[in-house]
């Protein structure tokens, strides 16, 4: 186990203000808020706290930048794409600094931060390639008509992103929105605003016109809500918890029926079949739950294992969990950093308690690591039953729950028996079984013999209360344009 005393290098904090119209502003209400290093629990810096008035300022700037005669609206698609590719190249240019800043604020390892940044740059490049490939249609109607569709940008898009992948979530939002020609007001999570503000500076450096990208740090109830209820915001995209997602959608509807897309939580099942290669399956299940300190909406938080291989699987999983290196994310031997906040930390420990109380068997972990920061030992429960809290509710912490199953019909039903539907995975060599699972599992992403097989080219999103709408891929564009049908009557 590596030390929880931080080896954090001196990471200079360059941007702590509100970014509107390519300029830096202080908060109108004059307040700042604290940003914490989860590895130590100590303050990194203070950041200007955006409130309703700042959101309003940003909306005005964005609306002006979206005026039909504005430079942004007149820009050729290819030029838009070039700006996006420029931004991608700046992310890569500054990867050393950005990755350290991400690690300092979020607690993920530097290697993981770098991976996120490469993925983010590739996402922007991917969407940059779409700008001159999105087409409307000409439609054969009646003989004396010319009918065609235009795909137009929606307009001012509010985007509210979470703390688990700050830079990556920002790129997933910017990519399709910019590709379609929209203007953006982005609120990073209050826990992790620092890299978003730096990326804002890169947007300016890349050459995006003022008002196209605006970033307002602030909290959910004031700043996020201001976006959801704003009468002059045309769309809101939210990634976060189901609980808040419902509030966002309600506020959006009640205000001005702004379009809504939601990426919410999950309780994703990973199903290990009897013909699985055990070694491969154990390693897969391990990273499927514990990756990113288990702070992933897709975390495989219900591991269903066929009874025939259950005992061996459990033994090996416990062994692997015990070996997982938890500590300072700036230490290159670290595999798992801290949880994001004291609040999350307490919540996770609370779930662990409930697991014990409900009769699940705590095999390893189950407690804090060290005395500083929010580190939790990789925890494994066996003898988990479907109705236990740890099997039903999203924990967002390093707690693996292993459940036994006997038949495939049964496990599919149990896997689907949840209000979530974000992801699912099955490990098997059998062709028919794989395709059957793929067909029957109620999840937006189904993976076979893999986990988190997320790529820029393929859509990602939830069934049921895991959200609606898709991100990434060509499908991701559909959330960011309006279809206008034009009919010209010919005389």
């Amino acid at each position: 186990m590596s030390s929880t005393n931080s080896k954090a290098p001196n990471v200079e904090i360059k941007y702590t203000q509100i970014f509107i119209n390519n300029e830096w502003h202080k908060a109108t209400a004059g307040k700042t808020f604290q940003v914490i290093n989860p590895s130590t629990g100590e303050e990194i810096c203070q950041v200007e706290e955006g409130t309703r008035v700042d959101v309003d300022k940003a909306v005005q700037a964005a609306r002006k930048a979206f005026d039909i005669d504005s430079p942004w609206r007149k820009l050729e698609p290819v030029a838009r794409g070039n700006l996006m590719r420029k931004l991608a190249s700046l992310l890569r240019r500054d990867i050393e600094y950005l990755s350290k800043l991400e690690t300092l604020n979020n607690g993920k390892s530097v290697q993981d931060s770098k991976g996120d940044i490469f993925f983010s740059a590739d996402c922007l490049d991917y969407y940059a390639g779409w700008v001159d490939k999105m087409v409307g249609e000409t439609i054969p109607g009646a003989q004396d008509q010319m009918i065609y569709t235009r795909h137009e940008p929606i307009g001012v898009c509010g985007q509210i992103i979470p703390w688990n992948y700050p830079i990556l979530m920002m790129s997933w939002k910017l990519g399709p929105a910019l590709a379609c020609g929209n203007v953006i007001i982005l609120k990073p999570a209050e826990q992790t605003p620092l890299t978003a503000l730096y990326v804002a500076s890169l947007c300016k450096e890349a050459g995006f016109p003022p008002g196209v990208v605006n970033v307002i740090p602030g909290d959910g109830p004031e700043c996020g809500n201001a976006i959801s209820v704003h009468q002059d915001i045309d769309k809101v995209a939210f990634t976060g918890s189901v609980e808040v997602g419902k509030k966002v959608q309600e506020a959006a509807a009640k205000s001005n029926l702004k379009r809504v897309s939601l990426e919410l939580g999950g309780k994703s099942p990973l199903i290990i079949c009897e013909d699985a290669d055990l070694d491969h399956a154990v390693k897969l299940a391990h990273r499927a739950i514990f990756g990113n300190a288990a702070q992933r909406c897709t975390a495989a938080s219900r591991t269903f294992v066929h009874s025939k291989i259950y005992d061996e699987f459990v033994a090996r999983s416990i062994e692997l969990a015990k070996k997982r290196v938890v500590g300072d994310p700036f230490d290159s031997s670290t595999e798992q950093g801290p949880q994001i906040t004291a609040e999350q930390f307490e919540r996770i420990l609370g779930y662990i308690e409930s697991g014990k109380k409900d009769g699940a068997k705590l095999e390893c972990g189950g407690e804090r690591v060290g005395k500083k920061g929010y580190f939790i030992k990789p925890t494994v429960f066996t003898n988990v039953k479907d109705d236990m809290k740890i099997a039903r509710e999203e924990i967002f912490g390093p707690v693996m729950s292993i459940l036994k199953f006997d038949s495939y019909e049964e496990v599919i039903k149990r896997a689907n028996n949840t209000t979530f539907g974000l992801a699912a995975s099955v490990v098997t060599k059998d062709l028919t079984r794989a395709l059957t699972f793929a067909q029957r599992l109620q999840a937006g992403s189904v993976w076979v013999n893999d986990y988190d097989a997320v790529c820029n080219q393929a859509p990602f999103g939830g069934y049921k209360q895991s959200g609606h709408g898709r991100e990434l891929g060509r499908y991701g564009l559909e959330e960011y344009y309006e279809v206008k049908t034009v009919v010209i009557k010919l005389i």
């Binding site: 490049d125 010319m146 067909q439």
Partner: protein, 520 residues
Amino acid sequence: MLSKLVTRQVFNHGLRLTKRAASTAAQQKLVGDRNPQVNYRKLFINNEFVDAIAGNVFEVLNPATGDVIAEVADASEKDVDKAVKACKDAFRLGSEWRRMDPAARGDLLYKLADLFERDRAYLAALETVNNGKPFKDSYNIDIPHCIAVLRYYAGWPDKMNGKVLPISGDFFAYTRREPVGIVGQIIPWNFPLILLCWKIGPSVATGCTTVVKLDEHTPLTGLYVGKLIQEAGFPPGVINILSGDGPHCGASIVKHPDVNKIAFTGSTQVGKIIGGEAAKMVKRTTLELGGKSPNIVFADCNLDTAVEMSHFALFFNQGQCCCAGSRTYVEEKIYDEFVQRSVERAKRRKVGDPFDENTEQGPQISHEQMDKILDLIESGRRAGAKLLVGGQREGDKGFFVQPTVFSDVRDNHRIAREEIFGPVMQILKFKTIDEVIERANDTEYGLAASVFTNDLDKGIVVSNGLRAGSVWVNTYDNFDPVAPFGGFKQSGLGREKSEYSLDSYTEAKCVTMKISQRNS
């Protein structure tokens, strides 16, 4: 000046050069190098430059002077064999190219585009020395367009989705769009670099491997691009470039049993031969052939714009465009005024040294072409069309032809039916819409057409009626990479550029798996 406006309007499809390149261009007075070094004169196979196996070479001329610029390798059947083998190796299942992530294929095209941008001035000078087009056109039009096309295709590789099908029965069915395989691409001399990019763009984007035959008049810039392909990091054998003639090199490519698809741009006459040969082996074939494109000018147009655009439509690139607006139909009411203004404009057209920044028109590509043009001009005179300006060779060095304008042209004149490929404008008179649509369509060709009018209805109805692959309204020669380009009828088969071009370079494979139970 209106002519500058034309160039900008027509070719400004969004190319934004890097800040450095744009400001450099602005700062420097644009002077092309008249004697660019020719360092690449050999065949480009497997990322190497090699002599022709038989050691043969042929001469490459500067059409502005008739002088020899260089000798380059002359590929024959054995060299084609070698190149196709390189394609095959690069296309083998499990090869680096077949295993490469699609996005990485795109990155190679972005890199190649960046190298074109870096070497813009050199490429433009070499293109001008070999082809004769004015340097300011090579620099401001040809090279930027190449860069735009490469970047357009660079975005496609990871976006060519197949479909999952709503099949009946207990099946899971989907399509894959797979590369068609080894392609042979034969390009002409009028836009050497542009057409090279129109060809290698989709080939690389879809994951094919290719052997390209450059035209024997204009091999120099294409061979240099071989060096850029190497530098960009393409695996060996993915793009092979040969200099050679049609009857030996070109024919070998068309007939080669391992070549899956042929793409040819050139004359309708040769296109028919190639199509015939390829059909014997059921090779997928796309052809971009000739044209006799009608440009229809209505009385309610903006006359200044119509005159300038019509002039450009015919005279651009020394009249050597497959889609040249070579039948200018003018509505009776404005006919006299239009003719007079067109003649004035043609008189002002500056012909001469392609490196002179005032030159608008350089030489024709060859003596042979020049003779053909002069012969057709003579036929126009003999047939009774009114020669109003030009009609002769210009000077006695190089292959220059005077900007020529005929009025009172009849539909049955040779100059109104046959492709001239030179600076000879035909102006014809018309009365009604129905009449002009019928006359415009009365041709074996169908490559392009244009309409000048301010009336909404006319613009749409006439466009709908013209049997041509590209119809331009109040503009001409818009070659934006997003727009498909190709011919109706004997102007060709298939489309280049745009998403449509990908169909020619992919095969749809349908995979149908039996499963135990299908549910929706």
